[in-house]
């Protein structure tokens, strides 16, 4: 997994590279990061993945824990920037809509790429729909 080149700067373990097309917004990276440099949050119908490069210590522990391979060890090392805002890397990812009721869910559209079976796909619905369907089943059982 670790890039191993043979000479000079190309070999550097830089800060992690993030691929928004693979990220599911699970937040594992922000949980394991020892310095809290990654923030993953839901705002509206988008997931924001924010990386503070100045705080990152380039340990790449997040890369070890990303379940989807959205993170990889990057080559960029330097964090020189002419304004503080440029030290933040912000990626937004669309949030999945509940296939049943259309409300936003807490994970991104990319989840579908990682879901293998049809049953798993069918079970994808928002919390509220899940509870409602459960209640319906309970109701049915009770009537019987």
């Amino acid at each position: 997994m670790y890039r191993q080149a043979s000479d000079g700067e190309k070999n550097m373990r830089g800060y992690p590279r993030h691929d928004p097309d693979k990220c599911i917004g699970c937040g594992a990276c922000s949980n394991v990061c020892p310095t809290d440099s990654i923030t993953v949050r839901v705002s509206g119908d988008r997931i924001e993945w924010i990386h503070n490069v100045a705080r990152c210590i380039r340990c790449c522990f997040c890369v070890d824990h990303c379940p989807t391979g959205a993170l990889s060890v990057g080559e960029e090392y330097s964090m020189i920037a002419d304004s503080i805002d440029k030290l933040y890397i912000l990626h937004t990812i669309d949030v999945e809509k509940c296939p049943k009721c259309g409300r936003t869910m807490t994970y991104s559209v990319n989840v579908e790429k990682h879901v293998a079976s049809r049953t798993e796909k069918a079970s994808m619905s928002c919390e509220r729909c899940k509870i409602e369907s459960l209640l319906r089943v309970v109701e049915k059982v009770r009537r019987v």
């Binding site: 670790y2 191993q4 394991v32 990061c33 809290d36 522990f61 070890d64």
Partner: protein, 521 residues
């Protein structure tokens, strides 16, 4: 063997429990502490490593404890004295000067009281109000102190300052040197300007598995030895076996780090005595070592390799081959060390800054400083860790205890390190096998991890807590122990020699003060 020594020191065997293959835990009564420490360290000649205070209120019912760590070849002895809240604490630093700093630090950080008249603040800023006791469990790690500090810094008038900071490495510390004519009569060290409470962060904010990366950043030169010592402490507390491959990888990186650290110091010493060509030659050799690290772990410093139970990634045959080439190159370029040893400029440092063996033992000196004074103690050989049991190496010892031998002994160690690296690189296990072992956290376990850092014995003590967090984490960097000898080596010398004498102790300030800052957004 240990039990026998303990019996001779009148420790009740019922209070002794074996908590690891080489670790003993003794619960002592407060009144017994002084006698036992005196007997173990001063009469039996065991090495005093460190001491710390623990606020046990989160694990047991509201009590404090003082923990002393004493080592002898092949075993570590942890002495625990449990105290009630607000009880005045016992102390040993009047008979054993090596314990002075750590006892004062425990009093400062936990607000413990003793019958001795000591100042409130030792590690923390003098202006902090006395209710700030950061290592108590009720003190939150993110408390803002900025509006509590009132600056009042005053210094005695008859001191001459060599420099506002380190006279050699330009770091954050003061050496106040008092001289009469051309003779130093007293030295005062003022440090801990950059203590930011890494131990508190490790105990409160971080999970156990995240700490190795923060521990590695305690020091910019010998960081890997800190993360290894931390991992070993947790491994010994939770009884984790480290796979052979991981142990060899650790050994390899630890030795590369030692080379890197020693070569930097030797180069700077050559520069300071006026040997510019040797300075350049040594830095060029150091560059080879840095490149080797770069090939192996993708970074010149901060290897990011250690995790609890092993290492994160393995090396490939291709990398090992490249590194072997580099080590061959390094061996040729290290011939320059002979020129340094033989040089007139260095010979002038003979009999300058002498540290006699007895004071080295009493003051708790470690590493090359102690070995140059004839103390035969090397953690790699006496308390073997990683894969040091399986490689051959010599531990150079010298008796003079002067600045010259402290420098020469490092030249010898460089040669030994290269020898270890060559043996490790020839092992097949480096490229195949398991990398790490799974583990299950359990609360309330104590473990001590020790490594021989480039500057000497490095001690990490952990007490595990709930939620796979640490309950207490203590870092005792080698310089913390070695700075205690300052007065012994400097008094009586000329102020002109002070910088090179201080440099020969190889002080590392960020280790001593444990600088790391982690902040929540």
């Amino acid at each position: 063997m240990v039990i026998k020594i303990l019996e001779e020191c009148e420790v009740d065997p019922q209070n002794v429990s074996k908590i690891g293959p080489d670790t003993f835990l003794i619960d002592l009564d407060k009144r017994q502490l002084r006698d036992v420490i005196k007997c173990l360290v001063l009469d039996k000649g065991l090495h005093f490593s460190t001491c710390l205070g623990v606020d046990y209120s989160g694990l047991r019912q509201g009590s404090m404890a003082l923990i002393y760590v004493v080592t002898r070849p092949s075993s570590k002895i942890i002495i625990r004295v449990t105290l009630n809240e607000n009880e005045s604490i016992p102390y040993v630093h009047d008979i054993l000067p090596a314990a002075e700093w750590c006892e004062l630090e425990a009093m400062d950080l936990l607000g413990l009281k003793t019958s001795l008249p000591v100042e409130d603040r030792f590690i923390l800023h003098w202006g902090l109000p006395s209710k700030v006791q950061p290592l108590r469990k009720e003190f939150k790690h993110n408390t803002r102190l900025s509006n509590m500090v009132s600056c009042r810094v005053s210094k005695p008038e008859d001191f001459v300052e060599v420099d506002p900071h380190h006279p050699f490495f330009y770091e954050h510390e003061d050496f106040l040197i008092k001289a009469i004519g051309n003779r130093i009569v007293d030295v005062l060290y003022i440090g801990s300007y950059i203590n930011r409470g890494i131990e508190k962060v490790g105990e409160s904010r971080l999970k156990m598995e995240q700490v190795p990366f923060i521990a590695e950043r305690i020091c910019g030169i010998c960081g890997f030895t800190h993360s290894t010592a931390y991992c070993q402490a947790v491994e010994s507390a939770l009884d984790i076996d480290v796979p052979e491959r991981a142990r060899f990888e650790r050994t390899l990186m630890l030795e590369l780090e030692r080379l890197e650290s020693h070569l930097l110091l030797l180069a700077l010493i050559a520069y300071s005595v006026g040997l510019r060509d040797i300075f350049l030659g040594l830095l060029r050799s150091r560059e080879i070592v840095m490149n080797a690290c770069d090939i192996l772990v993708g970074n010149r410093k901060m290897y990011g390799l250690n995790v609890i139970g092993g290492v994160r990634y393995g090396f490939e045959t291709r990398q090992i081959r490249d590194v072997k080439e580099l080590i061959k190159k390094l061996k040729t370029s290290l011939k320059i060390l002979d020129a340094l040893k033989e040089s007139q400029e260095l010979r002038k440092l003979k009999d300058v800054g002498v540290l006699p063996k007895e004071s080295a033992h009493k003051l708790g000196a470690v590493g090359p400083v102690a070995r140059a004074s004839g103390i035969d103690y090397d953690v790699r050989r006496d308390l073997p860790y990683a894969a040091y049991e399986e490689v051959d190496f010599d531990v150079p010892i010298m008796d003079q205890g002067d600045t010259y031998s402290r420098i020469v002994i490092r030249c010898e160690e460089v040669i030994q390190s290269v020898r270890i690296i060559e043996q490790v690189l020839n092992r097949d296990v480096l490229t195949k096998g398991d990398l790490r072992t799974e583990y299950y956290p359990a609360p309330g376990k104590i473990g001590v991890g020790m490594t021989e850092a480039p500057r000497g014995e490095n001690v990490h003590l952990v007490i595990t807590g709930h939620d796979s967090r640490l309950y207490r984490w203590k870092v005792r960097a080698p310089t913390y122990a070695n700075l205690a000898v300052l007065r012994a080596v400097l008094v009586g010398e000329s102020p002109r020699d002070a910088p090179v004498i201080i440099a020969s102790l190889d002080p590392c300030l960020s280790c001593t003060d444990r600088l790391v800052m982690v902040r929540r957004t």
